[in-house]
Amino acid sequence: MSSSESMRGVFADATRAEGDVIIEVEGVDKYFGDFQALKDINMAVGRREVVVVIGPSGSGKSTLIRCINRLESHDRGRIVVDDIELSGDIRNIQEIRRETGMVFQSFNLFPHLTVLDNVTLAPRQVRNMAKDEAEQLAMQQLTRVKIPEQARKYPGQLSGGQQQRVAIARALAMQPKVMLFDEPTSALDPEMIKEVLDVMIELAQGGMTMIVVTHEMGFARAVANRVVFMAEGEIVEVGTPEHFFTDPQETRTKLFLSQIL
């Protein structure tokens, strides 16, 4: 089966099971100068679905999710998030960014603000919440990621794992419909990876739609509905986590898995 057909087939099962489509990527190409980073990407993500994207560095997986919230702009094709089409229209972009939350590899917390201010910034500025209400919401999210006691500290005082959890809380405070994770644990020391993954697993089990770019196959096994393997800018293989571990089809997939498993 070609990649798009196999993907559609699996997707068809997923939609009927999980609910309607929340993110649709159709025929997307992306160029950096002469270099083509994304080649004819077709993907649909359903509500409450957890999609894990794996692949070697340079395969375009980060570029793909960065296109979804317009941190990169796609050159050809369509991206639709929650029935809003992603284009050069500011209003659409802002709306999509309100509905998607992103967690970065290098956390990107604002060092000049306390943890609490980091989390309340967007609700107050974008959703125009009052300060007290925003702080209440923020404490809820911080409790959810299990570090409410760090609220008044500055990011520089926290460990990597704590910082990343704050970043997750910050994204969750906007109550997004989709959470995008760009290699969230790649910059962490090994002993801190577990605490972040635990939060992410809880999130998935709570029904959040998630697209996660990661190397952590254990996470994929635990909660992923689908795993997407990308290489050299295109989707090579799609399937359930078991499919990948027991019976990968394509040569490139087998090669990659042999390197990381």
Binding site: L121, A122, A130, E133, A171
Partner: protein, 463 residues
């Protein structure tokens, strides 16, 4: 019974061991020490001889007022005293509020906070204190003593703002701003457009103060804020239309007073221009980037004196016929435009040093571009460039001496007045020059130490 652990062996050297290690670490170094010490002692001896025995400090003593305030009208001297008092109070309030803010932040974040002691402050500013003491030594009346004592007392009173509860923090900053504007206007007068400056400060204060943590921002709060600003502006206007006290415009300032003010005005006015240039230089539109780059590279390639010449001889032609600008206004304009190019490069460096992920995180959260700028980029970038900005101010302070070349009587320039007096036509040139040098040095040294201290603190982290 516990056994006391013996104290660790002391690693500090003292006495003979110190001399051996520090002055004679090896044979060549030792020879150097032996050669240098007598030369040094001789130089110190000659300098002390000059300063305390041979020099005729009468020129400085008799012209102390000229050095400090130049040809400022003597009957209006009370304004300068009032300015010093208001600034001392503002300094106290500002320092107190800043310390209190730092203390609050540290306590909340669970960090230790060490309040500054009097000793540490005295050590930091010893050069300024020494200079003030020298001035008092040369003073012939008791007035300077009273002024200094009054200023110190007011600064201490201002420092009490440290004790204010956290909710009053904003009032503290507002008070400091008001005192600074008042201090400027007590000399320059409250006529003309002076009310506008005060209205702006009060307006910003009113805008910031009409806030509640319980009410969500919406049309209601915006309307309330606008009303507050309008009301405060009207109040200021009314007050200023009653209290019209003409003052002494900056055209008539001179001496050290002018030196300090020219530098302060130039750096403050150049900041918005420099910020605009820095943003323009980073813009994606080629025309804007080219314009900004050309301006910056042009200004940085020529000496300040050439811009001062332009200001003197050419600026008049670039304004509509009939407008006249005083010599000092031209000089300030030239220095502002000059500094703006350097400020632009400093700010540009600060913006470049910000990791791009910060902007992306803001965008991913849905913040609009102006909000990202206002809340994320500028607070971090500007904080990072504070040491460089202080360095630029020090340069500006030293460069203000160039105004003497275009016959403006600032701190260095008043010497021409002094040596025009028959008594000092050929004598005391060295003494006046040394006095001027000491004055510049005292200020510049203190500021450069502060800048180094800030740099060290900023590198450690925020909070």
């Amino acid at each position: 019974m516990t056994v006391a652990t013996p104290p660790p062996p002391s690693t500090g050297l003292s006495g003979a061991a110190w001399i051996r290690a520090k002055l004679f670490p090896n044979i060549w170094s030792g020879i150097l020490t032996v050669v240098l010490v007598p030369i040094l002692l001789y130089l110190v001896y000659r300098t002390a001889l000059f300063v305390f025995v041979n020099a005729d400090w009468e020129a400085v003593e008799r012209n102390l007022t000229l050095f400090m305030q130049g040809t400022f009208p003597r009957d209006q001297q009370w304004r300068l005293v009032a300015q010093i008092f208001l600034f001392a109070l503002a300094l106290g309030v500002g320092a107190g509020t800043a310390s209190a803010t730092a203390r609050d932040r540290a306590l909340q974040a669970g960090l230790a906070y060490r309040p500054r002691t009097l000793g540490s402050v005295l050590r930091r500013f010893w050069s300024l204190i020494a200079f003030v003491l020298i001035l008092l030594y040369f003073a012939s009346t008791v007035t300077p003593w009273l002024v200094v004592l009054g200023a110190v007392a007011l600064a201490i009173i201002g420092l009490q703002s440290y004790r204010l509860p956290t909710s009053f923090r904003l009032y503290g900053w507002l008070l400091m701003a008001l005192l600074l504007v008042a201090g400027f206007q007590v000399v320059s007068g409250t006529t003309g457009r002076a009310w506008l400056v005060m209205a702006m400060v009060v307006g910003v204060g009113a805008w910031s103060l009409t806030e509640s943590s319980r009410i969500a921002p919406g049309w209601g709060t915006w309307a309330l804020k606008t009303v507050a600003v309008v009301v405060s502006t009207i109040v200021v206007f009314l007050v200023y239309s009653v209290v019209t006290v003409p003052g002494v415009g900056w055209d008539k300032w001179s001496g050290l007073h002018l030196t300090l003010w020219v530098s302060a005005l130039a750096i403050v006015l150049s900041f918005p221009i420099g910020l605009f240039l820095a943003l323009a230089r980073r813009s994606t539109l080629p025309a804007l980037r080219w314009l900004a780059t050309t301006y910056i590279e042009l200004i940085r390639g020529v000496p300040l004196i050439s811009l001062l010449f332009l200001g003197q001889y050419v600026l008049g032609f670039m304004l509509p016929a009939g407008t006249t600008l005083s010599s000092i206004s031209r000089a300030i304009a030239a220095m502002t435009l000059f500094t703006a190019a350097y400020v632009a490069e400093i700010v540009r460096g600060g913006l470049q040093s910000l990791p791009v992920g910060q902007i992306e995180a803001g965008q991913a959260l849905g913040l609009s571009t102006p909000s990202v700028m206002r809340l994320i980029v500028l607070p971090q970038a500007l904080r990072a460039v504070i040491p460089a900005m202080v360095g630029q101010f020090i340069s500006l302070f030293k460069d203000s001496s160039l105004l003497s070349i275009i016959a403006i009587l600032e701190f260095l320039g008043v010497r021409s007045l002094i040596h025009a007096q028959p008594d000092f036509r050929v004598t005391a040139h060295a003494e006046t020059l040394v006095f001027v040098a000491v004055g510049y040095w005292a200020f510049a040294y203190a500021m450069s130490r502060e800048s180094q201290r800030l740099e060290g603190r900023l590198r450690v982290g925020y909070g």
